[in-house]
């Protein structure tokens, strides 16, 4: 059976043959962020893939990873394309460098995990919060439930972390 759920009015589906994505979202639903790690390379990868990008090895293990990192880049949507997001503008699309494995195996590589900027309860961040976030901001992961056995990782400001005095934002 495919894993399926409605999220913000959008139907999200993971086919039953898509075992990598099924497992990924299942761990998210349990409140765990896990990534595949190649047995040979010992390197984590995101998003889920069939094989290790560095060795081509198909076998992997799901390893718990701390959902903390720093905003590497972002986009700020003011004109939504998908109907589900029309009422959410402006919203942020964040590209977050996880602290784990940053700069590995080469200097410019990182586990770059996408997501929106949300409040700790998973609701979309309002404009006054968005304005405090830019490149360099520290964020932590929260999960938005989609269905039984299916949740999406999202990002919220890391209240415990030391934030840059002025994260880089478009237009200053």
């Amino acid at each position: 059976m495919p894993v399926q759920g409605e999220y913000m009015g959008m139907m999200l589906t993971v086919d039953d043959v898509d075992v990598e994505n099924r497992d990924f979202f299942k761990y998210c639903a349990a409140g765990e962020f896990r990534l595949q790690r190649g047995l040979k390379s010992q390197l984590l990868r995101y998003p889920p893939t069939t094989a290790c990008p560095w060795t081509g090895e198909r076998a992997s293990e799901w390893v718990p990873v701390e959902g903390r990192g720093v905003v590497h880049s972002y986009g700020e949507v003011h004109h939504a394309i998908q109907p589900a997001f029309k009422s959410k503008v402006p919203y942020l699309i964040l590209l977050v460098d996880l602290d784990t494995q940053k700069g590995q195996p080469s200097a410019h590589e990182a586990l770059r995990v996408g997501g929106n900027l949300v409040l700790p309860d998973g609701s979309f961040a309002p404009p006054d919060v968005i304005e405090r976030v830019g490149i360099g901001s520290r964020v932590r992961m929260v999960f938005s439930q989609v269905a039984d056995g299916f949740a999406l990782p999202q990002w919220t400001l890391d209240e415990q972390a030391e934030q840059p005095s002025s994260p880089w934002r478009y237009g200053g």
Binding site: M10, D15, S73, G75, Q82, I93, L95, H108, G114, L152
Partner: protein
Amino acid sequence: MTVSNTSDIETSAPRHLRGKYAVCGVGETSYRRGSDQSTRALASWAVGNAIADAGMDISEVDGMLSYSNNDSTFAPHVATDLGMRLNFYTDIYGGGSSTECLIGIAIGVIEAGMCHTVAIYRAMNGFSQVRIGGTGARSAAPIVGDQIHHRAYGWQSAGQMFAPTFMRHMYDYGTTPEQVAAVKVAHSKHASNNPKAFYRQRYSIEDVINSRMICKPLHLLDCCVETDNSTCIIVSRIERARDCPHPPAVIQAVAGRVCKPRGDIHLHYQSGPISTVAGHYAKNILWPNAGVGPEDIDVTGSYDAFTFTTMLQLEDYGFCKKGDGGDYVSNGTIELGGKRPNNTSGGHLCEGYTHGMSMVIENVRQIRGAIDDSCPLGPDGHRQHTYDYAEGGCRQVENVELTANLGWAHPGAGSAVVMAKDHL
């Protein structure tokens, strides 16, 4: 080999198929919103126009290639409508950067003896059917599997998908919104001299900056136009092209599609720097095979899905130092009258959206010296170009010897072609 400037390029011996093939015919339909025709009908017009432009009999064109994003007709339909029997055809999935890539494939299949002459077309109702901006059918499609990692976050349209690359370039190199807006200013200037352009109005930097925000860092006028149209080019051996009515645009080299590590539209962000695009790799194939470097090029066709894409590619193909793209596109170089104009038709920002082929057509006409502007026709039927680039005037560049088209799929993938004037 890594090419950092023209002096790195070995030019003493021809490489591969340099100079052996040419674009000998080009054709298109008008750029409209509301074509009132199917993509099949549009394609048959564009292919027919290109074959006529090549001065060929329909029976002589026995190869056909097309590209689409599941939004168009297929080669056998178009061939049937034109009364052609094909010895080779295939329809590929792809948008931007497909044109240059398919020129490479056309050369390969002709060289392999599979056919003699290839028509390459793109037909799309990018405004009135499957909208290129992503509204309508594309955003309504079910979200399945790998797509969840972006589409579920409202991260779907081209502008949304590319925004982190654009933003990071500003962060890494201090590129300003005003600098990239200069791409729109230049291309709108060019379009004002292109009677077939959908938008012929000239814009200022302020117009771009003051237009409404779509997805930071993209204002409305940083984004291309959606139109309905079809375009076609004909590729043949150089010997055949020399017998065609127009001077051939000789193909010097093709690169791509070349991709970054993990070169999928979403996966490429895992490897960096994310402000570097696929041209960084493609240039190492393109320039050595062409036997020329960026400094030798007279006219560029750097794909302008957005103002930023033009800049990023010019930079990574080596037209300026990495990080200096903002200066390069805003210092007058890329404007008609400048050292190396880009997208003299107005490109996708202004002329119309064809996933790249129109920019190749424009450079073929530049090489022919036969740009279709408003200059008067002489008694020989050829346009008498004035080289006065004032609004509504000429857009032919003087003495074009070499052009480079830089096709963009996304930050992680692209392709390119260098074309030259023929010198027997």
